[in-house]
Amino acid sequence: MNFLCLIGAERKKLRRTHIFLLLLLPVVFLWIPGIIHADINFDRRGIPITPEKNFFIQGFMGMAWFMIPASLVICTILLIQTERSQRGMLKMLSLPVNMAVLNLTKFTMLLCLLAVQMVLSVGAYYLSALAASKLQHYNLLLEPLYVIRTTAQIYAGAVPVAAVFWMLAVWIRTPVLSAGIGLISIVPSVLIIQSKFFYLFPASYPFYLLMVAYGKAAKGIFHTTVKWLPLLPATILITLAALALSCLRFGASDRKG
Amino acid sequence: MYMIETKNLTKKYGSFTAVNNINLHIQKGRIYGFLVPNGAGKSTTMKMLLGIAQPTAGSFHIGKKSYPGDRMEILKEIGSFIEAPAFYGSLSGEENLDILRSILGLPKQSVADVLELTGLAPYQKRAAKKYSLGMKQRLGLAGALLGMPPILILDEPTNGLDPAGIHEIRTLIRSLPQTYNCTILVSSHLLSEIELLADDIGILNRGRLLFEGTASQLKEKAHAAGFPTDSLEDTFLALIDADNKKRGGIKR
């Protein structure tokens, strides 16, 4: 069974799980308060930023800090539970499928789901900005290149987070425990990006990258450039280590049985 | 004297009638075997007797008590095992039963007694989620038998047990009316089980009670209607088929 076949099988396993709704709802809930309170973007409180960039950054702040990690937690649990509940993993073990490859297939699926949510977020941003612009009689829409570039950066920053959450979901049999650890790791991101060692805490990467975008849009708020060293080597190392550990452990407890 | 008596008991879910005007008469100190095909309303009937499901129409009495006014009193006197074993997975067998014992206000010894009775004593300290299917079944039974209640409602009690276990539980159930003056409503898909266990038989199909009486009365009725009477299985299947044809239903 080749990789593409496995991806197809994984896609079928997600049927009737309402995953699209699970990805859409947080996006909708994120932007509704933004439309209702769009007027606060004009009260910049001394920060030198344009209202349209303020609207974008404030909305994406909730996404980068909270929604992306929370959605990743939900998706990892969903993907792993399709195997663990009703003993699907036992069935997979009895088929000619390499467990490490299956593990990577599921991780790829996770990244695809994240990509879907990012696309939904961009769409929701434009709809919200349009609605807020009509309400505030001010054009709050930003050019697509800027929005897509920032979103792509946040997505790239979320890949190591996805790898670590996936590893936790594979290693920890109790789903509520892995979900709890994932959700709790979201909270300190705000503090951690202020410290020198933020690159050791993957959950803070998307928020860090958005704050750099904020720093570029409003001088004096945050750094204006990404500290690639040691961020990039740390990111690559953490991602590869998390994936390797998850490949080692995937299906192992059912094999011992 | 009837321990459990229903009067036109009916349960509807929207336009679907799960149980249709059934009149059960379960005598005190006897075993009543419920013979029911899948999806015919057996679990719904049992749930109504326990007050878990609200009847759409009709009424029932258990002893001298009626639902819904005396529901709590009724539940103190019924031990039940419905559909599948129900327990708390992270607790041991003993701990699970201890919780039930506390709620029922029974002495501590009743847990040890019932564990011994169902053969779970060697496994009482193991977490229930680690029990095999048969052990989970025994745990469910143990929960129903706790304190030897005067009425037992058992839904497929030998499901998942090995032949020795089936024999053991059947012997146990058979002895209860004599030993403890229990009244038992037991259901099973194994017709041989009902033949060996039940004093009276009730046959339900698609929500309707087709027959109620002893095995010999069933044979007489079947003979009169021209149905096979060599075995309970043949009689049962013929009765169900005839009912299905009469109602334009599924042919076996």
Binding site: L22, V176, V187 | M72, S80, A86, S102
Partner: protein, 241 residues
């Protein structure tokens, strides 16, 4: 007695270790934050306890809310996972009594959690601020206020968990509510009364006794409302089951 039974049901589920661990994590925020940025906070004028709560309470509350969501879901997960809830329905104990017992148990854990966190804040004040005077009455008022502010959230979350047999649905609803409510402006008293938002408010933040009284009355009214909704749902479910 029923409360003790509910506590027994939670053995080996990780509920109590999770509560303790979560409380320790939230309580660790002020000392860690202070040890890293003590100069920033000690230089600020005003009441040291107020400075500490302003700097740390948001994060601590966020962790507390996650804990509330996860633990309420775990509480009902133990009931639904292996059909324990159905067994309870066949016993002479009402569902409302079981719900209230669970609520009482949960509120006891919350009270301990808030007390510990308030004590840690006070100890940080004592350690880092020379002029801070620890007063028991002030600490109890703060703790009591936080408990009252958390009540509507706890009851609502327990209601969701009791209604959704699938734990992930109730978990998702809780996280979604928490997330949405965190987007509302914190300076509006109206929005601060929303469940999942009210725990963020501290005793010191409310200007006067009248505002405090109104806020606490609103929390009490919300709590009674959610409890009444649950009891009504129990009655209706029995009628329509």
């Amino acid at each position: 007695m029923i409360v003790l039974l509910e506590a027994k049901k939670l053995r080996h589920t990780g509920y109590f270790p999770a509560f303790l661990g979560g409380t320790a994590l939230a309580a660790a925020i002020p000392p860690i934050h202070m040890s890293v940025r003590s100069d920033t906070f000690t230089a600020q004028p005003g009441d040291p306890f107020r400075i500490l709560t302003d700097a740390n309470w948001q994060l601590m509350t966020m962790l507390n809310l996650f804990l509330v969501i996860c633990c309420t879901c775990m509480m009902y997960y133990t009931e639904f996972a292996d059909n324990g809830a159905q067994k309870m329905e066949t016993l002479p104990v009402t569902e409302s009594r079981l719900f209230c017992a669970k609520l009482l148990l949960f509120l006891s854990c919350i009270a301990v959690m808030l007390l510990l966190e308030t004590i840690v804040l006070a100890l940080c004040g004592k350690y880092w601020f020379a002029d801070y005077e620890m007063r028991l009455s002030a600490l109890l008022k703060t703790c009591g206020f936080s408990f009252a502010a958390a009540l509507p959230t706890v009851i609502l979350m327990l209601l969701f968990a009791s209604v959704c047999k699938n734990m992930w649905v109730s978990l998702g609803i809780g996280v979604l509510f928490m997330f949405t409510c965190s987007m509302f402006p914190k300076d509006s008293l109206f929005f601060s009364l929303c469940p999942f938002n009210s725990p963020y408010l501290t005793f010191a933040e409310l200007a006067d006794a009248e505002t405090q009284r109104r806020f606490l009355s609103a929390c009490a009214a919300e709590s009674v409302l959610f409890l009444a909704v649950k009891l009504l749902m129990i009655k209706l479910r029995r009628c329509f089951s």
